[in-house]
């Protein structure tokens, strides 16, 4: 586990708030209360304001993700290609709802607004990699592969 003081060492002013939160999330996977408090002391911004920013932007998470994360795109082109069913099917396969994480902590599921892979709709992003023209079969395979990978 990285040291929070090292992670936020280079940030010093209120305008650094968003980049600092991004870096904390990258290092720890999410924004814990303790880490936000440490940042509050470092850049002299009240914790309430940090909390306000952390809950405003959809990218910030207050809970950790799974070891692997599946993000289902809910952009327009994906919607037209019935990504809603894909999302429901993923929820069923993983036995969790969007925004949750499997009980073994292995896989989390999120729904995102648009990953910009509209021409490959429906698309999903798994651990930062885009998979396009998805169907139920491909989704099953991806989940199986993630489980095998461990």
């Amino acid at each position: 586990m990285p040291d929070i003081n090292n992670v936020i060492a280079k940030y010093s002013s209120a305008s650094d708030l968003i980049p600092a939160l991004q870096e904390i999330q990258e290092a720890f996977g999410y924004l814990s209360e303790e880490n936000m408090e440490a940042l509050s002391h470092k850049i002299k911004v009240p914790l309430a304001q940090i909390s306000g920013v952390a809950t405003f932007y959809s990218m910030f998470r207050l809970k950790p993700l799974g070891k692997h994360n599946i993000a289902i795109c809910r952009g327009t082109a994906c919607h037209v290609h019935d990504s809603e069913t894909l999302l429901k099917s993923a929820e069923k396969k993983l036995n969790i709802k969007a925004g949750e994480i499997t009980s073994d902590g292995m896989i989390s599921l999120t729904s995102v607004n648009c990953i910009g892979a509209c021409a490959k709709a429906p698309a999903i992003m798994v651990d930062g990699k885009v998979y396009g023209n998805l169907d139920d079969k491909k989704l099953t395979k991806i989940i199986e592969d993630l489980r095998k990978q461990g």
Binding site: V45, A77, N113, A117, K120, V130, Y131, D136
Partner: protein
């Protein structure tokens, strides 16, 4: 002023572009189709021709794209997945064209490109995005050289004369915007708005991934014109490849003195560009919200005036332009304002990048002269709707835009014509809808988006979008009444007129435009409790009829295990479990599943 020959080894760029070589398109779309594996496999083959990675040519439907220049003969290949590499390499070794994968000897030979006019995209898929040599060799930085021969106010006048209008959506004349900020005293800031949050639009991602130096050159010209020494590229964190590419490109430009102090040896011309990653808020596309976000606050807009040009980031005069707008500035300063103004219509000049997606055969990013008809765009370029279905409408402009139905297909693509139909140019996202799309569902989809993205600051938008969504949800579930429809219309007008920023003011557009052209669909949902397009899942029931022979095929296709039955006996669908996806309906070979 330095010559470009002193800046970079252009000869090397010339050689790379003209010598025998193989290229693989490695932008986001390509990678999602497996181009990274194709590249790996090509490398394993030990070919004598050098292999290079390039960006995205916009032909997303045919990815992975590989081009081969062999003995001076240039060929473009599509759908070159990993398993096709052997076939392609065999053809290369025999010095012949691989017919199975062949698309054309030049882009212009391919139907998809015949009606395109590629100014902004001329390098996309052609050059290595991070080779400054190739960029300059392909004509890059000629715009900046021309710029530095003029005074800043002359550059502003030239951009004004080109007729360039902002490509972010509103269409404000760029030169005019620059003139306004030039009147403001103080240290000016330049911001490139790359917060492409509009679902269905990804042209800025393509520019940043495939031709980053064009954007950097455009920003350098803009900074010279408005006399700013500090610039920010605000872009989406969801575009990791674009961010990485831009970061490296900025570093290269600094090393070559194309950024930094005394750029190209011009005393006192300094510019520093940094990247700010957005954190996922659609409203940050709004200028005043973006400014708050850059300063580390919640991205909530404020009243105007003061306009950003008067008081922006930390109270400094701030000029915000879109990625395409700034990249086009580089094109204009290279080709000249009068040449640029020859393209397009009387009021809208130049070209526009459009993202074609949805139920269209050829998806991807295209660049067309403004004024081309929607019909040409969807049918000649996009190849029409997917096989076996009928065209219904084009959704233009995303959550702030509207639909264009079949009767308006000959409308020219320009700011005014689209606005007259209740749609907008927006950033250029076009989603093609076929007869399987329900217009009420489309309106509900966008309202779900905007109500979720409403920042909550002003009541008309925060409450209005929520209430409109409730009504649309009721209608798609067959619970809507005529009073609901009346209330929906009242709310639309109220939210449009009273919201604080563009997000709220435009939020009702998808509802208004579908109501205008497809009110009968709303009526059927309300009067008959039916969805004519079979898209509203709550209004559908699937039942298995006596035609069922018990093959069990539907059971295997059901994603939620809602179908049960013994082999060779009639199966049954559990309606509580069923998610009404229609997978069984598609899978059944005996027409034994009924959809109502």
């Amino acid at each position: 002023m330095k010559h470009l020959e002193e800046v970079a080894d252009i000869q090397k760029g010339h050689e790379a572009l003209n010598q025998d070589r193989i290229t693989v398109g490695l932008a986001t779309c390509g990678i999602s189709a497996g181009a990274d594996k194709t590249l790996e496999k090509l490398h394993e083959k030990g070919l004598l021709i050098p292999i290079e990675t390039v960006g995205c040519a916009g032909m997303c439907h045919a990815e992975p794209i590989v081009t081969v220049r062999q003995n001076g003969v240039f060929s473009i290949y599509g759908h070159v997945t990993e398993d096709k590499v052997d076939m392609l390499v065999a053809a290369i070794n025999e010095n012949r064209v691989c017919q199975e994968l062949f698309l054309g000897h030049a882009l212009e030979e391919i139907d998809y490109y015949k009606k395109q006019k590629r100014l902004l995209m001329s390098n996309c898929g052609r050059i290595n995005p991070l080779s400054i040599e190739q960029y300059i060799s392909a004509g890059g930085y000629a715009g900046l050289i021309n710029t530095l021969k003029k005074k800043p106010e002359e550059v502003t006048t030239e951009v004004l004369a080109s007729g360039l209008r902002g490509r972010g959506g509103a269409g404000f004349p760029t030169g005019k915007k620059w003139q306004l900020i030039r009147q403001q005293p103080g240290k000016r800031m330049l911001v490139c708005n790359g917060d492409e949050g509009d679902p269905g639009a990804f042209m800025n991602r393509v520019t940043m991934e495939s031709d980053p130096f064009r954007l950097i050159e455009g920003m350098t010209i803009a900074a010279y014109a408005i006399e700013s020494e500090e610039a920010i590229i605000y872009t989406r964190a969801e575009y990791p490849l674009a961010i990485k590419t831009l970061q490296e490109a900025l570093k290269i430009a600094e090393e070559k003195n194309l950024l930094g102090k005394d750029i190209l040896g011009v005393k006192g011309f300094n510019l520093k560009i940094r990247i700010m990653k957005g954190a996922g808020a659609f409203v940050c596309g709004e200028e005043t919200a973006l400014i708050r976000s850059v300063m580390g606050f919640r991205g909530q807009p404020r009243f105007k005036p003061p306009f950003p040009a008067q008081s922006g980031i930390y109270g400094r005069p701030t000029n915000i332009n879109n990625v395409s707008t700034l990249s086009l500035v580089a094109v204009i300063m290279s080709m000249g304002a009068s040449e640029f103004a020859k393209i397009g219509t009387e009021k809208s000049k130049g070209t526009a990048m459009i993202c074609l997606a949805g139920k269209v055969k050829r998806t991807g990013v295209v660049e067309v002269p403004i004024g081309i008809s929607i019909r040409e765009l969807v049918f000649d370029i996009g190849g029409g709707v997917v096989e076996g279905t009928k065209f219904k409408a084009v959704q233009a402009g995303g959550p702030a835009g509207g639909c264009i139905s079949e009767q308006y297909l000959d409308t020219p693509l320009d700011y005014e014509s689209l606005q007259a139909l209740g749609a907008i140019m927006g950033s250029g996202g076009m989603i093609v809808l076929n007869d399987q799309a329900c217009m009420v569902d489309v309106a509900k989809y966008f309202m779900t988006f905007t109500s979720g993205e409403s920042c909550g600051k002003c009541t008309p938008c925060r409450e209005g979008t929520t209430r409109m969504l409730e009504i649309l949800d009721k209608i798609t579930k067959g619970l809507g009444t005529n009073e609901d429809l009346d209330m929906l219309k009242i709310l639309c007008n109220y939210v449009k007129e009273n919201s604080l920023c563009g997000l709220g003011q435009a939020a009702p557009n998808p509802v208004l435009s579908t109501l205008k052209q497809f009110e009968h669909e709303y009526r059927v949902h309300i009067d008959k409790k039916e969805c004519p397009s079979h898209a509203c899942k709550n209004l559908l029931t699937y039942t298995i009829t006596d035609k069922c022979i018990g093959c069990g095929n539907c059971t295997r296709h059901c994603p939620v295990n809602a179908i049960s039955g013994k082999l060779k006996e009639k199966h049954v669908i559990d309606h509580d479990k069923c998610v009404r996806c229609g997978a069984c309906f598609e899978a059944c070979a005996f027409d034994a599943i009924e959809r109502k």
